[in-house]
C-alpha cells in the first residue's frame, strides 16, 4: 500500500528540516525525560512535637537537667523510674549518670532515646561534622572516615551534628557503612540531609527510612537547634518551599537564649567557587546557594538573631559576619583533592581541608568555635600501675576543648590537668580541659 503523497509545500518543509530532525528529536526526548523525572523538592518529613524524642532524633540533657516532650505528655519514666513532667518539659534527677537511658512516655517505651551528656548547659561543646561522603565500598576509605568520627567521640561532646552529604549517592550500602562509621561516637548524632543524599533518592525516602526526619528541632539548656533540609533534589544548590518557610519561621520563633540553624547548603558565604559566575547565586556582598526563599530565611535569621551553620563546599573553614549575623562554613570530614589551582599555585589551606570538623563551645551564651584537623590532634591513653596516663598532642595553633571520659576502675583518683566531674560509683569520671598547642600530659593517679 502506498502512503498518500504529501502536499508539495509540506514536502519542501520536511526536505529542509529532515537533516536537523534527529538532532531536534534527540534533544527533545532528553528534555522530556528530564521533565518527567524532575523532582523540585524532596518529600520532607517534619518531626512532630509528640514524636520527639525518637531513636533517630534523641533527646539530649544533663544530670539534673531538662528535655522537651510533647505538651500533652502526662508521664515519663527514665530507666523505669518516674521523672517530673510539666508543660511538655521533663526534669531529670541530679544523680542520673551520663550516658544513654531508656525512656517510656505515657506507658509506651521509646527505647534508649535519652542521652545525658557529661556537660553543664552553661558550659558545653558540640561538634559539627559534615560531608562525610561514605562510599558504597572501599574499606580503607570507610576506615579513614571512621577514624575521624572516633576522634570526635573521644573529645566527649554533648552531641554531634552530621550536616549532610553523609553518603556519596544515598545508596543502601552507603547508609549501612555510614551507620558503622558513627557507631562508636557515643554521643547522639543528629543528621540532616545534603544534596548527595538526593542523587539516587530524589524524594529522600531511603534517607528517612535510615536516618529519620529531614526537619526537626531539639534543645540543650537555653539553646535551640533547628535542622532544616533546604534542598532541591539532584542539585548542588537548594531552596525553601513556602511550607518549609512557615515551619522554619515557627520553629525559630520558639523562645531560647541562643538559636542555631543547621543547614547543609550555604545560606551566605563570601568565597566564590564554581557558581561564582551564576548571577542568581551572587548577592550584593556575598554568595548564596539558597535560591528560593533566600530573602525570607535571611529575614527570619535576622529577626531571631540566629547563628547559621552549614557545610557543602568542603573547603572553607570560615566564619562570615554580615551586618552582625554570623554564618559558619565548616570543612569536610572527607578527604579533598587539592584541586587544579592549589596544584598549580601551591595553595594547601584552606582550600584543601579534609579530615576536619568544627567544635562549638557555648559558655554562658557566648560562642567560640575551633576547627580540628584529625591529623593535628591525637589522644593516646596508656594504663599505669596507679591509674592512667593520657597524652594529648595538639598541633593546631589554637586550643581544643576536651571532655575526656576516664574509666580507670573503682577508687578515688586525682588528675594532673583539667577539671574532674561527674564521678560515678564505678570510678568513671570526665576531665574537662582546653588542650593547648603542644603536648599535654594528664596523669590519673589513685589517691592513697
Amino acid at each position: 500500500m502506498r502512503l498518500p503523497e504529501l502536499p508539495p509545500r509540506v514536502e519542501e518543509v520536511w526536505r529542509r528540516f529532515r537533516p536537523f530532525s534527529a538532532l531536534a528529536a534527540f534533544f527533545g526526548l532528553l528534555l522530556l525525560l528530564m521533565w518527567v523525572t524532575y523532582v523540585p523538592y524532596p518529600d520532607l518529613v517534619y518531626l512532630e512535637e509528640d514524636g520527639f524524642p525518637s531513636a533517630q532524633v534523641p533527646a539530649v540533657s544533663w544530670p539534673g537537667g531538662t528535655f522537651l516532650v510533647g505538651r500533652r505528655v502526662a508521664s515519663a519514666l527514665v530507666d523505669g523510674f518516674p521523672v517530673s513532667v510539666e508543660n511538655g518539659v521533663a526534669r531529670l534527677p541530679e544523680n542520673l549518670a551520663p550516658g544513654w537511658h531508656e525512656l517510656e512516655i505515657d506507658g509506651v517505651s521509646r527505647g534508649k532515646v535519652l542521652y545525658v551528656a557529661p556537660h553543664s548547659p552553661d558550659n558545653f561543646f558540640w561538634v559539627w561534622v559534615s560531608d562525610i561522603h561514605t562510599p558504597p565500598f572501599g574499606e580503607e576509605k570507610i576506615l579513614d572516615r571512621k577514624r575521624v568520627l572516633d576522634l570526635v567521640g573521644e573529645l566527649g561532646p554533648a552531641f554531634v551534628v552530621s550536616g549532610g552529604d553523609m553518603t556519596d549517592f544515598g545508596l543502601e550500602d552507603e547508609y549501612s557503612n555510614y551507620l558503622r562509621i558513627i557507631s562508636d561516637v557515643g554521643a547522639p548524632v543528629y543528621n540532616l540531609p545534603g544534596n548527595h543524599e538526593t542523587y539516587s533518592d530524589a524524594r529522600l525516602h531511603r534517607y528517612v527510612r535510615e536516618l529519620g526526619p529531614t526537619n526537626y528541632s531539639f534543645t540543650f539548656g537555653d539553646c535551640l537547634f533547628v535542622a532544616a533540609a533546604g534542598l532541591h533534589a539532584y542539585r548542588g544548590w537548594g531552596g525553601f518551599s513556602n511550607e518549609q518557610l512557615s515551619w522554619l519561621d515557627r520553629e525559630l520563633s520558639k523562645p531560647a537564649g541562643t538559636k542555631f540553624l543547621l543547614l547543609h547548603i550555604p545560606l551566605a558565604y563570601y568565597t566564590g567557587r564554581e557558581y561564582a559566575w551564576v548571577p542568581w547565586c551572587r548577592k550584593d556582598n556575598y554568595f548564596t546557594q539558597i535560591l528560593e526563599g533566600h530573602d525570607r530565611v535571611m529575614e527570619i535569621v535576622r529577626r531571631e538573631n540566629v547563628l547559621t551553620f552549614f557545610g557543602h563546599w568542603h573547603t572553607f573553614d570560615q566564619e562570615f559576619n554580615l551586618d552582625g549575623l554570623r554564618f559558619f562554613h565548616s570543612p569536610s570530614v572527607t578527604q579533598n583533592s587539592k584541586g587544579v589551582f592549589s596544584a598549580i599555585f601551591g595553595i594547601t589551606e584552606p582550600y584543601a581541608l579534609g579530615f576536619s570538623f568544627r567544635v562549638v563551645v557555648v559558655e554562658n551564651g557566648r560562642l567560640r568555635t575551633v576547627c580540628v584537623d584529625q591529623h593535628k590532634l591525637s589522644i593516646v591513653r596508656e594504663n599505669t600501675a596507679s591509674g592512667q596516663r593520657i597524652l594529648v598532642t595538639n598541633n593546631h595553633d589554637h586550643s581544643v576543648p576536651l571532655n575526656l571520659k576516664v574509666s580507670p576502675g573503682p577508687g578515688d583518683y586525682t588528675v594532673s590537668a583539667g577539671t574532674k566531674s561527674y564521678v560515678q560509683p564505678d570510678g568513671t569520671f570526665w576531665v574537662r580541659l582546653e588542650a593547648q598547642p603542644g603536648t599535654t600530659e594528664i596523669s590519673v593517679e589513685r589517691s592513697p
Partner: protein, 171 residues
C-alpha cells in the same frame, strides 16, 4: 562530507554514543544509573558543541559567507569528537580499574583523591584538538581564511558561558 552531508546519520551516531557515555559515567561514578542524570549528562555533553557552532555559523553568515548549514553543523559536531574521546579515555579504563580493585568509585577518585589530573589531561588535549578541528571547519566549510576562522571560533566559544549557566545554574 561536504559533497554529501548527513547530519541525520551523525546525530544518530552521536546520540547513541552520548547515551552510552551517560550510562558509563554514572555507573563508574556511583554504581547507580538515574534517568534524570542520564538526561542531564547526555544533554550537557551533546550541547557543548552546539552553541559555539551556531554562533560561529551566524557570524560567518553575517560576514557574507554562504554554505550548507547541514554540512557546517555536522562538521562542527564531529569536530568535538576528540573532546568526547578524551572523556571516554578516562572514564572507561578508570571505571573498570576502580571497580575491579574495589577501592573507590570514579567520582571520589576525581574529587577527593587527585585523579582529576588523569581526566584533565585527555579532556584538555581533546578540547584543544576539537578547537583546531573547529577552526578547520570554518576554513573548509565556510571557506574563511584560517585567522578569520580562528577569531570567529574563539569568539564563539564564549557562548560556553550560556552552557555553563544552563547546566550549572539551572539544570
Amino acid at each position: 562530507m561536504l559533497a554529501r552531508p548527513d547530519l541525520f546519520r551523525t546525530t544518530l551516531f552521536m546520540a547513541l554514543t552520548g547515551i552510552l557515555f551517560g550510562v558509563l559515567i554514572q555507573y563508574t561514578m556511583s554504581t547507580a544509573v538515574v534517568p534524570h542524570f542520564l538526561a542531564v549528562y547526555t544533554l550537557m555533553f551533546n550541547t557543548i558543541w552546539l552553541l559555539p557552532s551556531l554562533l560561529s555559523m551566524l557570524l560567518f553568515w553575517l560576514m557574507g559567507k554562504r554554505f550548507s548549514a547541514e554540512a557546517y553543523l555536522e562538521c562542527g559536531y564531529l569536530a568535538f569528537m576528540p573532546f568526547y574521546t578524551g572523556l571516554w579515555a578516562y572514564f572507561l579504563p578508570a571505571g573498570i580499574y576502580h571497580y575491579l580493585r574495589g577501592d573507590c568509585l570514579a567520582y571520589p577518585a576525581i574529587v577527593c583523591y587527585d585523579e582529576w589530573i588523569y581526566l584533565a589531561f585527555p579532556v584538555g588535549l581533546g578540547f584543544l584538538l576539537s578547537y583546531l578541528y573547529s577552526i578547520l571547519v570554518g576554513v573548509r566549510v565556510a571557506r574563511a581564511r584560517w585567522y578569520v576562522s580562528f577569531l570567529v571560533w574563539t569568539l564563539s566559544l564564549s557562548s560556553l558561558y550560556v552552557t555553563y549557566l544552563i547546566f550549572r545554574g539551572w539544570l
